[in-house]
Amino acid sequence: MSGKSKLKRQKLIRQAVENLNHSYMESVIESSLDKNIQMIRKLFEDVDILKLKEIRGGGKKGQRYCLVFMDSMVNDFLINDDIVKPLMLSKLTSSGEELINILDKQIVQINETEKTDSMSKIIEAICSGDTVLFADGAPQVLLLNTREFPTRQLEEPTNEKTLSGPKEGFNESLSANLSLLRRRIKSPEFKIKLLNIGRRTRTKTCICYIKGLADEKVLDELYKRLEKIDIDGILDVNYLNELIKDHPYSLFRSTGKTSRPDSLAGKLLEGRIALLVDGSPDALTVPYLFIENFQSSDDYYINFYYSSFFRFTRILVFIITISVPGFYVAIVAFNHEMIPTQLLINAAAERQSVPLPAALEAFIMLTVFNILREAGLRMSENIGQALSIVGALVIGQAAVEAKLVAAPMIVVIGLTAISSLVVPRMNSSSIFIRLFLLLLASCLGFYGLVIGLSAVLVNILNLRSFGISQVSPVASFKQQNIKDLFIRAPIGIMKDRPVTSVNPVRMEIKNNDDA
């Protein structure tokens, strides 16, 4: 097919899709119940779990109603006792809008109701587990909250484990997540705005922030970016992440991600804005600082000396994990004068008996390590034991004894592997940075390693997130920013909020010595 006609065909398809969506998005219900039921049946043709229940009220008029709901998502008891029963016992004579009003306020015994005449809203409601009440002769319908569907029990999130402190994690239900948050921040300034994003999925997303602490400019920017999104469906918060973040092709994050309510509440109190999505247990936070990659929520729940020490360690370990393979190759292949003689003798002796040059060996071992890691992630628990033995024995012991790989290389790669597990959030970036530095070190030795590290540093310094530079607390080095940067100062000392908030004063410390 030639290029031009291919484009034309694509345009036609797109037009047809638009029309399809357009047709029910804009339509409005009619007053006639039969016509409405026909419309619903046509729209939800081949959706066998959609249920329609026709009810007749009592009295002289015998008002006709119809309940529309999805079978597996509703609370049957609620429908039976609080909707069907009162409707059947009712004896209404009014019509039109008044009818709906009376139903809403006097007959139907449901706490959350909404009046609407828009078909798109009705469809959304049915698909969310609401029951829609059609009344013959009424120009509007009533949406009744009867949702009940299975959700996962609240568990500790697997990739954000902490030593002490709360162990609740978000689950996939937005309402459950919001309840966890709301209970932690009880002030009316904690705002929650709901949106629907995604043409086909109409996913409920939620923007949370604390008014007065969050920067209005960041909020506006966030709304602007969300409005620009035109996508089929949002299945996970990462879809949103990739559509709104500052550096879509960078190795590093521009938005924060957490699945712990306590951690999210902490970030909200620092003036950040959170994005939650129905169906995903993770929450995004903006704006993002680079140092957040190395922070863990349990820094606040344990002794501050201990947590300060571990913060330092995490940063150091990150540097170790990206530069050690390159460093080792640089020493063994290029700059032999950098190490003490005894060490060089050992390294040279090992290298005599090994077939491959150091750089190639390092690449191969890194690949093997990545394979092991992926296998460990995805394997079932039954073969876990056997596989770890195979991994350790075969790759570690046997490879060295068969002189395929030099023993110091195993040590180096082992160190890299363990180090990469300390800061799991950086894992996705560190794999590539490590390869890049290894490549440079293999070509240019220490010089290459230093060039590579400088390039990475410059890249990090240029990162931005929603209007602020990601390294601004390090760059400006104001006293307050240091207290939560590489160390964790005691909570009594952290009087001001960090740079992400417009309202700097966190607390007024009442001095016990006064009065």
Partner: protein
Amino acid sequence: MSIVSGMAVDKSPDSENFRLTFELLDTAKPIKEQGVDNEIVVSEGKTFFDAARNAKRLLHNKLYFGHMETAVISEEIAKSGALAQLIDWFLRDIEFRETLDIVVAKGIPAKEIFHTHGISQPIVAYEIERIINQDSKITASTVEKHLYELYNELNMEGICPVLPAVNILTIDEKKTCQVAGCAVFKGTRLAGYLTPEETKYYLYAVDRVDGGLLTFPAKGNGKDDTTLEVIESNTKISFTFKKGKLKFKLEPKVIAFLDEIAEPLDSLDEQKIKELTKNAEVSLSSRIRNVVKKVQGEFGSDIFGFGNMIYRKDPKLWKKLREDWSETFSGLSVEVSSKIEIVTTSWLEKKGV
């Protein structure tokens, strides 16, 4: 790569070529059992670099000099002035460390040094380097000269270099090398040797003492029977030029412990201690003076750096003197007045009541 730990420089006996002997670290044998062994490789060439490259004709790997610590030169090379050419090669080539030690083999061909056995570990070059390195604090019997220091001294005004000297000691048919004083150079040519004892007093004259021992007769004459352990030493060197006469004054100031004495001394007896100190000072001053005289008389080379000092403090005077500095130096009058402070004698009361 073949790691070179030490190199010996000789003149080839049958031609004009230089013969280099390399001590290599043998990485082929497993290390865990015995520790590293050494291998000797010899090669010849018209120039030093030529000889080094020629070694590849019989080696699997190229020579790697990044960890070479010692270069031993033979008397013949030292006397011929080829030292300058050797240093030039060392400095131009990237691989050599500027901190490597250059050592003169006294009375034997340089390659013999690498046919000895190190006592504590098999690599001779590292043994020599360690002995020289730690000498200043323990025996003060030789001078340590790194390559860059040697180069500096050869190019400075009014100073001649001194290099450590090694020779071979045979114990029960086993040969090991030992450090034996130093070699005195005039310019780039060897002028002579100083014994370890003489080297010690030379070190006092140039203020390079970090430790070591001083022995002297307690009563002022006879055999040395007292030992002082030197803790700190500073020598103040000054000169005066009056009426066309140049006079140098050396004032060593030493802080020491009393460690050994033939007749027991009552340590609380101040008079006795003062007498002892005075005898030590006299002994030290006279011995330093003797060494200076020997150097002036026998070698005529200014290894004390007197000329350099004049150059730095009074350049105009140096301009006048530098032409005939050798002769001037030989006739220089040097005064030595030492001061020793015995800080502790380690006994609190008289022994054997």
